[in-house]
């Protein structure tokens, strides 16, 4: 599996004014990679994911999955939103089963897969609960399990831990690393948290703002086996500082341009 973005641009029209959100984005994500995209506000991070998900189409360029152009959303690209977007009237297990109900999968196979992903994300105890009874972290686990149950080629994460407290967030980071290792799925994740990006990603892509472009593509030279302790190691801290500087540089440029426009 290869996900390819070739010279992708995206324009938005708001009240007759055309704004370019993304411009000339070239990106390749290989099978089994974990790629994190960071960038300041206005860098079009979420736009990028929505294009890959197929929820909107690029203005220019093309997006290819195994050489086939993406023309719309589909279960081969699972998406997780920051707020989870769970179905509030469905129990945890029925949320996870949703995508499978739409696939030609028989009931026994469906139950087996739901079971596996509930266990993988630590949700067995709350499988009958409704979303309103869950904590923020549990909700995100359900959203991840639901996307993974369709066994997508690539899992798209749109700031999935952005709304969680620090401890829950770290739990979730460890969980998603584990799930990635266990399932071998390809992950493309957008976040504004550089530490998170360095901890999770095999590569960190830095986006520039106005319009969103790729400013840097940094390989994370840390061992594949990581636990939270790695966050205190010099190599981690140096890499984190380097990427933060890149993001900050882009952000300053963005603020300067906004001020000049005003």
């Amino acid at each position: 599996m290869t996900l390819e973005l070739r010279n992708v641009a995206k324009d938005y029209t708001v009240r007759g004014k055309v704004t370019r959100a993304l411009d000339g984005v070239d990106l390749e994500v290989l099978r089994g990679e974990f790629v994190c995209v960071v960038g300041a506000s206005g860098s079009g991070k979420s736009t990028l994911l929505s294009l890959v998900a197929g929820l909107s189409g690029p203005t220019e360029g093309e997006i290819l999955l195994d050489g086939v152009p993406v023309t719309g959303p589909g279960p081969d690209r699972g998406l997780v939103f920051q707020a989870g977007a769970l179905y509030p009237w469905r129990s945890v297990e029925k949320n996870v089963a949703f995508g499978l109900e739409l696939l030609p999968v028989d009931a026994a196979e469906r139950a087996k897969r739901v079971d596996w992903y509930l266990a993988e994300t630590g949700l067995h105890a709350v499988r009958k609960s409704l979303p309103k009874q869950l904590s923020g972290g549990q909700k995100q686990r359900v959203a991840i399990a639901r996307a993974l149950a369709c066994e997508p080629d690539v899992l798209l994460l749109d700031e999935p831990f952005g709304a969680l407290d620090v401890q829950t967030k770290e739990d979730m980071q460890v969980l998603i690393r584990q799930v990635w290792a266990d399932t071998g799925t390809t992950v493309l994740m957008v976040t504004h948290d550089v530490e998170e990006a360095v901890f999770l990603g095999g590569r960190v892509v830095v986006l520039a703002s106005d319009p969103g472009r790729i400013a840097a593509d940094v390989e994370v030279t840390l061992p594949a086996e990581r636990d939270l302790a790695v966050k205190r190691e010099p190599a981690f801290l140096a890499l984190r500082a380097r990427i933060e500087d890149l993001v900050r540089e882009q952000h300053r440029g963005h603020v300067g341009r906004v001020a000049a426009d005003g």
Binding site: A53, G54, L55, G72, P73, G74, P75, R77, G78, L79, F81, A83, A85, Y87, P88, W89, R90, F98, G99, E101, L102, L103, L130, P131, K132, A143, R146, A147, C150, L156
Partner: protein, 240 residues
């Protein structure tokens, strides 16, 4: 309880003290007696059933039309653009003003009464249903498409279940309106029904009977409300 007790007390004081003539304001005891009289001959139940039947038919038809139409308007911008201006205008036309026209078109029997109930409730229920459907969060729809749902599946598996409690709310509000309209419709040439009973009582200055019928209308309305509210609570227990 106090909101019922105070007016009731005022009623007792006014009627028993003789400040107001019994023909204008019958005593509670007289009203109860009139109610028992009607109940014992069975005519009260016949009238109640006749009225309920009209509501079931007229408002039921309105629900059958307005729910799919509202879902269509709420889900598709084209549906909204096509129907919203017309329905937005039509709902301001008072249903009671249609009565003479409906009698000319449909005659003086049942069809014109059913039609009036239908006209009185269908537009409001359509617009309220459309609003509820538009309230389904966009992320919920987007995530469903990424999980492989097609348009029809999103409508059936996401839009309808998410909107169900709100649609029952709309039905509850408009059922009250239907209950009002039916009595108005029955004031004109009907052979049965609570409105018909009121007109008959008026001819003989039987204000006690009118009051008794009003009480029955109120209680019946309350029962409908409680039933729909219970249904709403059961269906919507997932809501935070």
């Amino acid at each position: 309880m106090l909101s019922f007790a105070i007016p009731l007390l005022a009623w007792v004081v006014l009627s028993v003290s003789g400040v107001v003539v019994p023909t204008f304001l019958p005593s509670p005891a007289a009203v109860v007696r009139a109610g028992i009289d009607m109940a014992s001959t069975g005519e009260l139940f016949d009238d109640l059933w006749a009225t309920t039947q009209r509501v079931l038919e007229g408002f039921g038809l309105a629900v059958l039309v307005s729910v799919p139409l509202g879902i269509l308007m709420g889900s598709f911008t084209a549906g909204q653009a096509f129907f919203e201006p017309l329905i937005g205008l039509l709902r301001y036309l008072p249903a009671s003003a249609f009565i003479p026209l409906l009698i000319i078109w449909l005659g003086i029997g049942e069809p014109s009464k059913i039609a009036m109930l239908f006209i009185g409730t269908v537009f409001f229920n359509t617009l309220m249903t459309a609003d509820v459907v538009r309230g389904v969060p966009g992320e919920l729809l987007d995530v469903s498409y990424t999980l492989g749902a097609r348009r029809g599946e999103v409508l059936r598996k996401i839009v309808v279940p998410h909107s169900l409690p709100g649609m029952i709310d709309a039905i509850r509000v408009n059922a009250a309106a239907a209950w009002n309209f039916v009595v108005v419709a029955e004031l004109i040439n009907s052979q049965a029904g609570l409105g018909h009973r009121i007109v008959l009582a008026q001819r003989f200055l039987r204000t006690d009977t009118i009051f008794a019928v009003l009480v029955v209308i109120g209680v019946a309305g309350l029962v409908i409300d409680v039933l729909l509210r219970t249904l709403r609570t059961r269906v919507g227990k997932w809501a935070a």
